[in-house]
Subunit: 303 residues, 2 copies
DNA sequence: AAGTTCCATTAGTTTTTCTAATGCAGATGA
DNA sequence: TCATCTGCATTAGAAAAACTAATGGAACTT
């Protein structure tokens, strides 16, 4: 296939120059200098071996050949514009797949997603709960929620909530005969653990709580299970503020203490850097960020 | 007009990569490395914010969006190809205007131009005789014949004939009673001058001819008039080999001496450098050069 | 398990494109 | 009619884009 195409960037200059019949105006439009346009046109003319413009005294005219070529090129640019527009429109709607840990899905995204769907009926959201791994941003997943420090290579990450850890338990437990007045009273209670006992261990150490055996109490594989156990009065969990929030607001869980340990990790909404700012992904990111902001403002007002 | 066009050169890479479904093959086609294609595609995808390819294990696939875009882009490139082809075809035929001195037109081009027209019926030749000036390669003149040293700024020049000057006169004069056996006999004859008397002056000096008064004899404004005067037996002209040739061949003029002074100047076919190698101008140049070559070969054989 | 095949990435080079400063020629205008 | 302006061309050098060579990784093949 003999594809001797003209230098494409020169065509851009040619189209503008022919439209304005002025190199200077074309240059303004393209945000370059008049000299740049002059160079480009010259290189196009010399590639084609055909004069496209007649440089008259003070006006610029198209040659016959130039006129004909301009009409063609104009259409071609317009087609390209259309095609690109269609592509972008297509990228702006359709399905978006979100991968995230089940607990975050249940406690945060699912209760809110209907609002997104109402605002953006074009975008069909698919929620894919995955056991946490940080490798889920694959071909069929557009965005994911990761828990971590916010630095992933080649990925764009929006921090969602500033999280803290605080003990939570059923209100029944709080009213029971075992005291829960001060931190040291934790020694009388069962601790409920999430995946490992590290979280409680850090918390206890940080607030210098005495007499607590952190190695006791059941370990659950998922945060949701811990919350469930706590709600059922089986012990005291160390609640993530974000995940526990709905249960606390519903009154099924309470925070017996005011001590809050701000975590170094947080939930992040991540996507490929290159896709962060366009189409449906940008739309989704924007919506999520707005949600989070509104909630954190509410928190401030609550306190 | 919001023209956010994608980077045009990336589109070239995209089209090839999508057609081959392989960056490596696209790179081969475009005579670049695979890395270059990879970069271009990446920049296009990041401009659009949309993944165009799925990089699978060992195969490359277009995404849905990429597929749609490819079909559009393919057509666009093909339109561009067509438009450019049409333009070049148009540049290859149509009218060609030649500006040249009247004498050269009459003695050389006009007698031969019918051959060109026969070989290239698409090209309509227009001959514009102009009094010599070297400024005639303007907008409506495609090629010109200049007399000079062959160096004109920004112009392409093909040397036509190696010229020499030698006295010429009517055969009648040669047979008359005034002798014309050796150079010094020139003193007995009228010299016919072309525009100025410099030419004869140089010739006389170069061959060390004695006793000739160069300041005598009529001066004519055009070479043609000198030839005409010589043919009518009014004196001895200093003939340009190229211009006098037809008259000599026809027997209306003869060269009484063998002394020939090769000129520093010559006739050149000139055109704009940028247009020299394409379209009808290239065709015309090629034809003229062929003519000249054939004639000079004939000359060699004649001698 | 070693060898392939393809694409991605990195750093550095080459090429292209652009700019700033002038030049030039033909209007325009006092 | 002389100075000024407007618009394109040209030049040399700066900036940006494109490309290369080398290397790495992942998933096939043998």
């Amino acid at each position: 296939m003999s594809r001797r195409l003209p230098p494409l960037n020169s065509l851009k200059a040619f189209e503008a120059a022919a439209r304005h019949l002025s190199f200077t105006k074309a240059a303004d439009e393209l945000f370059v200098t008049q000299a740049a346009v002059s160079h480009q046109i010259k290189s196009l003319e010399s590639f084609l071996g055909i004069k496209l413009f007649l440089r008259k005294n003070r006006t610029l005219l198209l040659t016959e050949e130039g006129q004909g070529y301009y009409l063609d090129i104009k259409d071609i640019f317009s087609s390209l514009q259309d095609a690109t527009q269609r592509l972008l429109a297509r990228g702006a709607k359709g399905a978006i797949t979100v991968a995230l840990p089940p607990s975050f899905a249940i406690q945060w995204l699912v209760p809110r997603i209907h609002k997104f769907s109402a605002e953006h009926p074009d975008i069909d959201v698919r929620i894919k709960a995955v056991d946490f791994d940080e490798g889920h941003l694959t071909d069929d997943v557009d965005v994911a929620v990761y828990y971590g420090k916010g630095r992933w290579n080649g990925l764009h990450a929006d921090k969602l909530h500033t999280e803290y850890l605080t003990p939570i338990c059923s209100p029944m437990l709080f009213q029971s005969d075992k005291p829960l007045e001060e931190l040291d009273d934790l020694r009388h209670h069962t601790l409920l653990h999430d995946a490992s006992r590290e979280a409680w261990k850090n918390w206890i150490r940080h607030f210098n709580v005495l007499g607590v055996n952190v190695n006791q109490g059941p370990v659950f594989s998922h945060s949701m299970l811990v919350l469930q156990a706590a709600a059922l009065g089986q012990g005291i969990a160390l609640g993530h503020s974000v995940l526990a929030r709905p249960e606390i607001q519903a009154g099924r869980l309470i925070c017996p203490f005011d001590e809050k340990l701000i975590t170094r990790n947080a939930y992040y909404l991540v996507c490929h850097e290159s896709q962060a700012d366009s189409g449906k992904i940008a739309t989704f990111r924007q919506w999520v960020n707005t949600q989070v902001q509104e909630e954190q403002q509410d928190d401030v007002i609550d306190e």
